[in-house]
C-alpha cells in the first residue's frame, strides 16, 4: 500500500501526516486528529453524519480519501464556534430543538452551512432539499428546518 505525505488545514490549523492511500478522510479526522464530532453512520454515502467542508464545499468524508484533501482547507463541527461564540447554526439547533440524540447534528449543521452559503435566504422546500443528503432518525426534520431558518435570519442581520 502506498504511503503519502499530506498537508491539510483543519479548522485553521495546519496538519501534516503520512497516511495510507486508502485512509478515508473521516478516519483521518476522527482517529488521527481526534476530532470526533464528525460521525460515521453508514457505509454507502447515504447518511451524511460524516459531512465536512472541503474548501467550502460540503462533502461526505466517508467517501473521500485523506490524500484527496492534501493542500485543502477542511472545516468540521469543532471549528464552528469562534472564540467561544456559537455559530448561528449551532444556536439555531439549540433554540429550535433541532436535535435529539445529536448523532446526525454535526453533519446536519455543516450541510446547512453549505446550503446557506449558496442560498442565504432559502425557502422551506429549498432547505428540505438542501439537507436531503443527511438522515436524521430522531427529529422528523421539522425542527431542523426551523433551525436552518433561524440561522438564515441571524446570518443576514
Amino acid at each position: 500500500m502506498s504511503n503519502h505525505h499530506i498537508r491539510v488545514t483543519v479548522n485553521g490549523d495546519v496538519q501534516e501526516a503520512d497516511v495510507d492511500a486508502r485512509l478515508l478522510l473521516v478516519h483521518f479526522i476522527r482517529e488521527d486528529l481526534n476530532l470526533t464530532g464528525t460521525h460515521i453512520g453508514c457505509d454507502t454515502s447515504h447518511c451524511g453524519a460524516c459531512t465536512v467542508l472541503v474548501n467550502g464545499t460540503a462533502i461526505k468524508s466517508c467517501t473521500y480519501f485523506a490524500v484527496q484533501a492534501d493542500g485543502a482547507e477542511v472545516s468540521t463541527v469543532e471549528g464552528l464556534a469562534q472564540n467561544g461564540d456559537l455559530h448561528p447554526i449551532q444556536e439555531g439547533f439549540r433554540e429550535m430543538h433541532g436535535l435529539q440524540c445529536g448523532f446526525c447534528t454535526p453533519g446536519m449543521m455543516i450541510a446547512s452551512i453549505a446550503l446557506l452559503e449558496q442560498n442565504p435566504n432559502p425557502t422551506e422546500d429549498e432547505i428540505r432539499w438542501g439537507i436531503s443528503g443527511n438522515l436524521c432518525r430522531c427529529t422528523g426534520y421539522i425542527n431542523i428546518v426551523k433551525a436552518v431558518q433561524y440561522a438564515a435570519e441571524k446570518m443576514q442581520e
Binding site: N34, Q90, R94, Q100, N134
Partner: protein
C-alpha cells in the same frame, strides 16, 4: 436565582451544549491506550454447515493478531449465550450457521483497516443447507429443524422437537366464538406487518477492557439497559471468575436506540472474550450492513383478524390469530411472562365484551429479535390490527369511520376501565382527542372535497387512527426480565448549597433525560432545574434500574424521581421545623420553601434547609439531605391519541402522497412541551417510514433485502410530511405527577392512519386492504388490478 422550570416548561436542552459543539461522547469516540480492533467474519449463506475455518492467510495479514472461532470460545464455555426469553443463541457457531450475516469468526488486529483485511482473508468452507424462510413452511411436519444443536433440545426426544416455539392466548375463546356465530355483521382480513430495523444513525458497538490484575471488566457499550446487561454478564461469566462488583458497564452518549440497543449481540460478547484472551482493550463497531443485517428486528407478524358487530355499528367481538416469525431463536426482549409482548392491548380504544387472541412463535432462518422500533412491546401490531379492522367494519356498516369510532369508544366515565383481555386502562378521553383532530384538519370539508375529486377521477383518501398505547412496564406482579422486576430508580442528593445531583437507572438515547428529569425534581423541590445535574448509564455510580425502552422512563424512573424528591422534602420539613422552632404540623409547603401557617414571613427556603442539613440539623437526626426511590408502578399507563391523515394517490405512478397529517396526542401531563413535541415529530416519522418506505425481506434462499441504506429507505427531509400536532391532557391518576410517557405513541399510531387513508381513497374501486409498505409499485399494481391505473 434562575427560574424553577418545573413541569410544563419548554426548557432548552442541557445536553445540546456538547452535541452542537461536536463534543458528544459516543462509543466510537473512545480511545483507550493499547486498544485493538475486532471485526467479524459473517456468513454469506442463510443456512449452512461449517466444514472448516482456515485462519492461516488471515494471520499473515500485517497487523492481524488473532482469529477467534466458536472453538476458541467453547474453551471458555461462552460460545452460546442466554437470551432474555430463556433460550440460547450462538455467540460464534460450532457446526451450523442459521441466518445470513451470522457471526462466524472474530479477527483481532492493530487497526480497523487491518481487521477488515483479516476478515477478507479468513477462509470458511460452507456446505449449503436448505433454509427455512417462510414461517408457515417452518411449521410443516417435514420442515427441516432449525439449529438442531440448540441447547434446549438436549433432553427433548427427537419427535418432540419442532420449529414451533410457543403458543400464547388470552381471552374467552368459547364466548368469542359464540359472539361471532350470533353476529349480524363480520369482517375479516389478513395483515402482514413486515420486519423493520430500528436503524439508529449510530450503529452498535463497544470497547471492552479487561484488567487481569484487578479482575475488573469495563465495558463501554451502546446499551439502553446497562444494569440488566451487567447482571447478565455476571451470571454467564461467573465460571470465568468475573464478579458483578468488578464489572462496570458504561453506556455513553447513544446516537439513538429505538429498542435496537436493548439486546446483547454476539459482537459485544466476542469483544469481551477477546479482551480477556489478549489482555488488550478491544473495540468493536458495527458497520451499517451488520447493523441492518443482524440487529434485533421489529414486527414480522402474520395476522388474521376478525370483528363481529351489529348492523347499527356496535362492536361485539374480536378474534385474532397470529404467526410470529422470531428468526432462529427466541431472543425477544419481552417481559418474561409476555412472549407476545403486550399484544393483548389489541382491543384498542373500544369497549368489547368478547375477545380472543392467540399467537404462535416460530423459528425461521433469520436473525432473532422482535421488540424494536419504538413499539412498546408489540403494541404497534395490536393498534395496526384493531384500527385497520375498525375501518373495515365502518365501511361495511356504511358509517363514517369517525362516527363509528365514537360510537364504540370506551367513554370517559368508564375509566379506570377493565378490558376483556386483562388490562386496567388508567384514564382516557378518546372522543375528545378525535374531535380536536377533526376540527384541526377540517374533516367535513375534506369529505366534501373527496367526493368532488372522486367525480373528477382523482383519488384522495382520509384515514383515521384512534390508538391506545400501553407503556410504563411495569408492575412487579407481572413484569420481569429474566426475573428482574421492572422497577426503576432515582438516587437524589442535595448538596449544602442547595444544588442537586440525581442519578437514574434509565439511559437516554436522545429523549433528553438530563433536561426533563431535572424538571421533575425541580417541580417537587422548588430548586431551579439549572441547579440539578442528572446522570445515568454508569453501573458503578447509578442506582439499579431496568433501562430505557417501551416508553418506560417517564412513567417509571420519572415517578422514582418524584418520589425521591418527596422523601427529601419530608426530611427538609423536619429540618425546617427545627430551624423555625415550630412543630412540623405548623408548616406549609410552597414550591421552594416551608413557611409557618398563617405567617408567611417565617419561612425557610429549600436552599437554607439544605445548608442546615449539613451545618445545623436537629439532635438525633442524621446529617445530609438525600433519598433513594425504587419505584414499582401500581399500573401501566395508557397514553392515547387520534391521528387523521389525507393522502393523494397518483394514478400514473402509484405514489402515495401524504398531503396532511394531524396528530393529537394525550400523554397526560407534559414535562417539557418542546421535547414532547419533538418526540412526536420523530415518532410520526418512524410511523410514516414503514407505511411507505422501509421493509426488511428475504428471498427464498434467505438472502436479505434491505441490508444497506441503498435499499432500506429511511425517510429524508424531502418525503417526510409536515406534521401538525395537537394536545389534550388527561393525567394518569396513579403516576405521582400525572405523567404517562410518549416516546413511542406516534410510531404506534401513525402507520395505520396512512393505510386507512389509502384504502379510503381506493375503496370505491374495490380495494379493501393494503399491506405496508405501500410502495409505488404495490399501489400501482392494485390500481391496475382494479382497472384504475393511468398507463400513459
Amino acid at each position: 436565582m434562575p427560574e424553577i422550570q418545573g413541569l410544563g416548561h419548554s426548557r432548552k436542552r442541557v445536553e445540546d451544549a456538547r452535541f452542537i459543539r461536536g463534543r458528544g461522547n459516543y462509543v466510537d469516540d473512545l480511545k483507550v491506550p493499547g486498544m485493538i480492533y475486532l471485526d467479524l467474519v459473517r456468513s454469506p449463506l442463510a443456512r449452512a454447515k461449517i466444514k472448516s475455518i482456515n485462519s492461516e492467510k488471515a494471520l499473515e495479514v500485517p497487523g492481524v493478531l488473532a482469529v477467534l472461532t466458536g472453538e476458541t470460545l467453547k474453551e471458555y464455555d461462552v460460545h452460546n449465550m442466554p437470551t432474555l426469553m430463556n433460550e440460547h443463541q450462538m455467540v460464534l457457531p460450532l457446526d451450523t450457521v442459521e441466518y445470513q450475516f451470522q457471526e462466524v469468526a472474530g479477527v483481532l488486529a492493530t487497526s480497523r483497516y487491518a481487521a477488515a483485511d483479516g476478515v477478507a482473508a479468513v477462509e470458511v468452507d460452507y456446505e449449503p443447507l436448505e433454509p427455512v424462510v417462510d414461517p408457515f413452511k417452518a411449521l410443516e411436519p417435514d420442515a427441516p429443524l432449525i439449529w438442531p444443536d440448540r441447547p434446549k433440545w438436549a433432553d427433548v426426544p427427537e419427535e418432540e422437537r419442532s420449529n414451533h416455539i410457543w403458543h400464547w392466548e388470552k381471552g374467552d375463546k368459547e364466548a368469542t366464538d359464540k359472539a361471532f356465530e350470533e353476529a349480524e355483521v363480520t369482517v375479516k382480513e389478513n395483515l402482514y406487518i413486515p420486519r423493520l430495523s430500528a436503524a439508529a444513525i449510530e450503529t452498535c458497538g463497544c470497547v471492552a477492557k479487561w484488567d487481569a490484575v484487578e479482575g475488573q471488566l469495563t465495558l463501554w457499550m451502546t446499551t439502553q439497559a446497562p444494569h440488566a446487561i451487567r447482571t447478565v454478564f455476571a451470571l454467564v461469566t461467573a465460571h470465568l471468575g468475573l464478579s458483578e462488583e468488578k464489572i462496570r458497564v458504561i453506556s455513553p452518549d447513544l446516537g439513538g436506540g429505538f429498542g435496537g440497543k436493548v439486546y446483547v449481540y454476539p459482537g459485544y460478547v466476542i469483544a469481551v472474550a477477546a479482551s480477556i484472551v489478549t489482555g488488550s482493550p478491544v473495540k468493536w463497531i458495527e458497520d451499517r450492513t451488520e447493523n441492518l443485517g443482524t440487529n434485533a428486528f421489529g414486527r414480522d407478524y402474520h395476522i388474521t383478524a376478525e370483528l363481529a358487530g351489529k348492523k347499527d355499528g356496535t362492536l361485539t367481538a374480536l378474534r385474532i390469530k397470529t404467526t410470529a416469525d422470531h428468526g432462529y431463536v427466541d431472543a425477544a426482549a419481552n417481559p418474561l411472562k409476555w412472549p407476545a409482548g403486550l399484544f393483548n392491548i389489541c382491543t384498542g380504544s373500544y369497549d368489547f365484551k368478547n375477545a380472543f387472541v392467540e399467537v404462535d412463535g416460530v423459528y425461521t432462518n433469520k436473525p432473532p429479535g422482535g421488540i424494536v422500533y419504538r413499539c412498546s412491546f408489540r403494541v404497534t401490531e395490536a393498534v395496526h390490527t384493531i384500527e385497520r379492522l375498525a375501518d373495515l367494519m365502518a365501511h361495511e356498516v356504511q358509517m363514517d369511520p369517525a362516527e363509528f369510532r365514537k360510537k364504540n369508544f370506551i367513554k370517559p366515565e368508564q375509566f379506570p376501565y377493565q378490558s376483556v383481555l386483562g388490562w386496567e386502562y388508567d384514564s382516557g378521553n378518546y372522543a375528545g382527542a378525535l374531535d380536536l383532530a377533526m376540527d384541526m384538519i377540517g374533516y367535513d370539508e375534506l369529505r366534501k372535497e373527496q367526493a368532488e375529486k372522486r367525480e373528477r377521477g382523482e383519488f384522495m383518501g382520509i384515514g383515521i387512527s384512534s390508538f391506545t398505547e400501553i407503556v410504563g412496564a411495569g408492575p412487579s406482579h407481572s413484569f420481569d426480565i429474566i426475573g428482574l422486576k421492572m422497577f426503576d430508580s432515582c438516587e437524589l442528593r442535595v448538596h449544602p448549597t442547595g444544588k442537586v445531583i440525581a442519578r437514574f437507572g434509565t439511559k437516554s438515547q436522545g429523549q433528553g433525560h438530563e433536561t426533563t428529569f431535572a424538571q421533575i425534581i425541580a417541580e417537587e423541590l422548588g430548586i431551579p432545574a439549572d441547579h440539578i445535574k442528572i446522570e445515568e448509564g454508569d453501573t458503578d455510580t447509578a442506582p439499579y434500574g431496568l433501562g430505557t425502552y417501551a416508553s418506560r422512563s417517564t412513567p417509571v424512573a420519572g415517578a422514582a424521581g418524584a418520589m425521591a424528591a418527596r422523601k427529601v422534602r419530608d426530611k427538609a420539613k423536619k429540618i425546617a421545623a427545627h430551624l423555625l422552632e415550630v412543630s412540623e404540623e405548623d408548616l406549609e409547603w410552597e414550591q421552594g420553601k416551608f413557611f409557618v401557617k398563617g405567617s408567611p414571613d417565617q419561612a425557610k427556603t429549600i436552599q437554607e434547609i439544605a445548608f442546615a442539613a449539613y451545618t445545623d440539623y436537629p439532635q438525633g437526626m442524621e446529617a445530609g439531605l438525600e433519598a433513594v426511590s425504587y419505584y414499582d408502578p401500581p399500573n401501566l399507563t395508557y397514553p392515547f391519541g387520534s391521528y387523521i391523515c389525507v393522502v393523494d394517490i397518483d394514478r400514473g405512478t402509484g405514489e402515495v402522497k401524504v398531503r396532511r397529517f394531524v396528530a393529537v396526542d394525550d400523554c397526560g401531563i407534559r414535562i417539557n412541551p418542546m421535547i414532547v413535541e419533538g418526540q412526536i415529530h420523530g415518532g410520526l416519522t418512524m410511523g410514516f417510514a414503514p407505511a411507505l418506505l422501509e421493509e426488511i425481506s428475504y428471498d427464498e434462499n434467505g438472502n436479505m433485502y434491505g441490508s444497506s441504506f441503498q435499499d432500506y429507505l429511511l425517510p429524508t427531509s424531502v418525503e417526510t410530511p409536515k406534521w401538525e400536532t395537537g394536545t389534550t391532557v388527561t393525567p394518569s391518576p396513579h403516576h405521582p405527577q400525572g405523567l404517562k410517557g410518549v416516546g413511542e405513541s406516534a410510531t404506534v399510531g401513525a402507520p395505520v392512519a396512512i393505510v386507512n387513508a389509502v384504502v379510503d381513497a381506493l375503496w370505491h374501486i374495490g380495494v379493501r386492504h393494503v399491506d405496508i409498505p405501500m410502495t409505488p409499485p404495490k399501489v400501482w399494481a392494485l390500481l391496475k388490478e382494479h382497472g384504475a391505473a393511468l398507463e400513459q
